[in-house]
């Protein structure tokens, strides 16, 4: 649910990074945080365990610039990927405007990807959303690893609907901004569509 404030002339949108445990959602946000100018970003918050596993969420506010006289602000959230944190994942999806699914390219994580994707669809449905109708992009992360599954196979399994997709290596930053731009564009295009 985007928030349009005519008083401060701002559009605020919420983007959620979803995916199985250890797929690189937090790493995506950390890279964005490291590589953006201080005047564009707010403070990054990570609610994590002592072993740096996401406990509740990571949060990074970004101001991208103006569009038709309105400042565009994107609030990026990650969910905890571990299966047993499902209750928390549902809460974070509240009011979402766009979703990035971060898939782990390692062959042995393929089942975890599919399980998480199903979980995303179910949790979105509970909130009244349909993954096929909201701005959604998929990122194939960890493409640099030797055990990465062939792209064709990942596409067939994780992206049967042909959503915009990006290869990435979040630790080096490759593909991270391309993914963010694509989902942000999708959210803004959706805002435009709603106005028509």
């Amino acid at each position: 649910m985007s928030f349009i404030n005519y008083s401060s002339r701002e559009i605020n949108c919420k983007i959620v990074y979803y995916g199985p445990g250890l797929c690189g959602k937090t790493t995506n946000l950390q890279h964005i945080y490291l590589k953006t100018n201080p005047d564009v970003k707010g403070k990054m918050i990570s609610l994590a365990t002592e072993t740096e596993r996401t406990l509740f969420f990571d949060f990074l506010p970004l101001a991208l610039g103006e569009i038709r006289g309105f400042k565009t602000r994107f609030h990026l959230y990650t969910v905890p990927g571990q299966v047993f944190y499902d209750a928390s994942r549902k809460l974070i999806l509240k009011g979402v405007d766009g979703v990035v699914f971060v898939a782990d390219s390692q062959i042995e994580r393929m089942e975890a990807n599919l399980e998480s994707l199903d979980n995303l669809k179910v949790n979105l449905k509970e909130q009244g959303y349909d993954l096929d109708k909201i701005p959604y992009v998929i990122q194939y992360n960890k493409r640099d690893l030797p055990n990465a599954a062939p792209l064709e196979e990942m596409r067939k399994l994780c992206n049967p609907t042909g959503a915009p997709e990006f290869e990435a290596c979040a630790t080096t930053g490759e593909g991270v901004f391309e993914t963010l731009k694509a989902v942000a564009k999708g959210v803004l295009a959706d805002l435009k569509k709603m106005g028509n």
């Binding site: 649910m1 349009i4 005519y6 008083s7 609030h75 959230y77 564009k185 435009k192």
Partner: protein, 162 residues
């Protein structure tokens, strides 16, 4: 149920601001924040204007969402009032209507009793305003359309031109 987009016009914002500015005085509060349940900051007032209100909004929504989840587990619909007591500052959160949270931060200049009393009245007033905003937004989108209908693909691309 999916929530509709929240559109706040200048006059609505002014009404919300007037209520929370009055609440700052009536409750002797340090700071007051109106946050929506998705984590967006709607308005703020008081002497804490320099603090990181974006993070405050996001964490408030997370806290309320988590407590709401706990409420359901124990058989409650939700816990509408949350209170966190600190050494010098205290934080009082109240649900306003079905999608807003009113956060009051206060210190020894006020008391929990006073805050609860004043928040009750202000919360009811805010709930009414947000209900009106919701209804107005629905009718306006139907009759006038959104100003963002005119966003072009170039406008969107320009945001990412760096």
């Amino acid at each position: 149920m999916m929530e509709s987009q929240l559109v706040m016009q200048q006059e609505d914002f002014d009404r919300v601001l007037a209520i929370i500015q009055k609440l700052v005085r009536d409750a002797n509060a340090k700071g007051i924040f109106v946050v929506d349940k998705a984590g967006q900051l709607i308005a703020e007032a008081g002497e804490m204007l320099g603090i990181d209100s974006t993070s405050l909004a996001s964490l408030t929504a997370g806290c309320v969402a988590a407590t709401g989840g706990l409420a359901k587990i124990v058989g409650e619909e939700e816990f509408p009032i949350h209170f966190h007591q600190g050494q010098s500052d205290n934080l009082h959160m109240t649900l306003v209507g079905d999608r807003m949270i009113l956060v009051v931060i206060f210190d020894e200049r006020s008391s929990l009793g006073l805050v609860r009393l004043r928040v009750k009245k202000a919360g009811n007033e805010l709930a009414k305003i947000f209900e009106e905003i919701r209804k107005k937004a629905e009718t306006e989108v139907q009759t006038q359309g959104s100003p963002f209908a005119e966003i072009t693909d170039d406008d969107i691309d320009n945001l990412f031109s760096d």
